[in-house]
């Protein structure tokens, strides 16, 4: 059988990530903190320096050559992203500074206009703080109620509880597409469909999802979809908020300033069209342009189906390996998962394990992963989290499992 895709090309893929070619603490780097941020391919790094070397200029409203070039490149990323998530219109793609900013934009701009006293906003128990706190803030301001879909022991949303929560007062359902702490892929199409039946607006937090599964906002049917470039092989400081045209047009701007206006007088200001209405101030031009290269990179390696199957192979190997170690407990064993593996070890603190793995060159994340309510749900303070990406190998997973085994044995 002919082998295609990532598996055969993993060496070639790794070559594109210069950061991976190094030692830390005298050991070969194994980067398993991809859920926090992915590494960047050369094309993205080069796009950044290329922009600053050759055509740095403020975009829009410039008549000179550099401004034209910068504007074209910036807007080209918008077009690429629109295709990447299958938006109906390119104008539905708003550049933000990250997922957090996107959610705050919706909570503030949509919430201020459309939320009223005693309205209900539904989130879930597995949300990142970024999809909890903005809703708490606007609910408090408006006298609205925040409702929480519970998570079961395996790490899946209890859908029957969600269905019970939906009602006349439900205005917004905002849940994560994929859990950053557990790796659970949520049944978001079903969640969105049920919310729409109840007449509620929907937002999906896609921070963890976009690097792993295909995103089709039309098929998902959601009103908003927020994600970050840096978890998708792109630079930090860039995010995307997708919103359906009608709802974006009905919303007032979030921040005021340059770019977002049509005409300003001291008596009254009229606002620009979408997406510019929501992009006040000079945007993060260089990083947006470089983000375009990240999307091209991802399209170039055969898309996310390949990626997910590679990750799942690593996940399966790692899961089996962890289960064979005495005293290790995996947190989050949902049926549908991406390559995120959270675990705790009897008698050892996650911080200590993280440092000991680091001494062997293995980078994992430790702590509550900005999901304190979820950690409380499991009665733990935090976990060790290993998260995989396209450039990780089965050999790395084997080394990680073996190292963990030895570390635990040494301590006992």
């Amino acid at each position: 059988m002919e082998q295609t895709g990532i598996k055969t090309d993993i060496g070639k893929i790794r070559e594109q990530f210069p950061v991976l070619r190094q030692e830390v603490n005298g050991k070969k780097l194994i980067y398993f903190d991809n859920a926090a941020t992915t590494q960047k391919p050369l094309s993205v790094i080069n796009a950044l320096t290329d922009y600053y070397r050759h055509y740095n200029a403020n975009i829009h409203r410039g008549v000179h050559a550099l401004a034209e070039r910068a504007t074209a490149a910036y807007e080209n990323t918008r077009k690429l992203i629109g295709e990447f998530i299958n938006a109906t219109d390119t104008e539905e793609v708003i550049f933000t500074s990250g997922t957090t900013a996107g959610i705050n934009l919706v909570a503030s701009a949509w919430g201020r206009k459309f939320l009223q006293k005693d309205d209900e906003v539904i989130i879930s128990e597995m949300e990142h703080h970024s999809n909890i706190v903005p809703w708490q803030m606007i609910c408090e301001e408006k006298g609205a109620r925040l409702m929480v879909i519970p998570v079961d022991n395996k790490g899946e949303l209890v859908m029957s509880e969600y269905e019970k929560m939906l009602g006349d007062r439900t205005r917004m359902v905002a849940v994560t597409h994929i859990s950053n702490a557990l790796g659970t892929i949520n049944p978001v199409e079903e969640i969105v469909a049920k919310a729409r039946e109840a007449g509620a607006v929907t937002l999906l937090d896609g921070a963890q999802a976009t690097a792993h599964v295909d995103i089709d906002v039309q098929a998902l049917g959601c009103d908003f979809y927020a994600f970050s470039a840096h978890k998708l092989f792109g630079p930090t400081g860039v995010g995307i908020l997708y919103g359906k045209r009608a709802i974006l047009e009905a919303m007032n701007p979030w921040q005021g300033g340059g770019e977002m206006i049509e005409e300003v007088t001291f008596e009254k200001t009229t606002y620009n069209e979408i997406p510019y209405k929501f992009e006040a101030g000079t945007p993060n031009i260089a990083d947006v342009i470089a983000f375009g290269e990240a999307v091209r990179f991802l399209n170039g390696i055969g898309g996310k189906k390949e990626l997910l199957s590679h990750e799942r192979e690593l996940l399966q190997k790692a899961t089996e390996g962890l289960k064979a170690i005495d005293g290790v407990k995996i947190i989050g064993e949902a049926h549908e998962k991406i390559g995120v593996l959270s675990f705790v070890v009897d008698g050892m603190h996650h911080f200590d394990i993280g440092m000991l793995l680091d001494a062997r060159g293995i980078a994992v994340r430790t702590g509550h992963h900005c999901t304190q309510p979820l950690m409380r749900r499991y009665g733990i303070e935090g976990t060790v989290r290993a998260s995989f990406s396209i450039y990780n190998t089965t050999e790395e997973v084997e080394f990680f499992i073996e190292s963990l085994k030895q570390i635990i044995a040494k301590w006992r």
Binding site: M348, H349, F351, D352, L356, W411
Partner: protein, 151 residues
């Protein structure tokens, strides 16, 4: 009042002893970390009544509880933490500073930390936590000193 000197070893002697102990690990990061964790395990348990927010050291990523008492003119510390490495770190500080005179604690130059390359071992975030521990210990000593001066 007669003062019994329970801790004759000077700050310098203890620090030099620690530097010596750590020198055997050289560049072996893992063994160094395990050693710090073992030191943490040997720390006498802290009475549960002190494991409250009142005794927690602010500025540490991990939870560290610290209490101090005055016996004669010497200050003694007890502590605990929820992670072994942090427990090991505070146990090193206790080994050097506990049982010393308030003034010596206040003016202590903890050069052993630099000599054993502690900031490189534990990283920047934990180094901040370590600095917070030292500051809290010095604040305790300062409080006892002013109490003694007022009596």
């Amino acid at each position: 009042m007669e003062i019994k000197d329970k801790r004759p070893a000077s700050l310098e002697d203890i620090q030099n002893e620690i530097i010596d102990e750590f020198s055997i690990f050289g560049d072996d990061r893992e063994s160094t970390i395990f050693y710090i964790m073992e030191l943490g395990q040997k720390l006498p348990p802290l009475d549960e009544q002190y494991k409250t927010d009142q005794y927690i050291i602010k500025g540490c990523q991990s939870k560290v509880w610290l209490t101090a008492r005055l016996e004669g003119d010497r200050v003694y510390f007890d502590a605990d933490s929820n992670t072994e490495i942090t427990k090991g770190l505070i146990s090193l500080l206790i080994r050097v500073l506990s049982g010393q005179k308030a003034d010596d604690i206040i003016n202590a130059d903890l050069y052993f930390l630099e000599k054993i390359g502690m900031s490189n071992i534990i990283g920047a975030q934990r180094s901040n936590g370590l600095a917070a521990m030292i500051k809290q210990m010095k604040l305790y000593a300062l409080a006892f000193k002013s109490k003694m001066n007022n009596e």
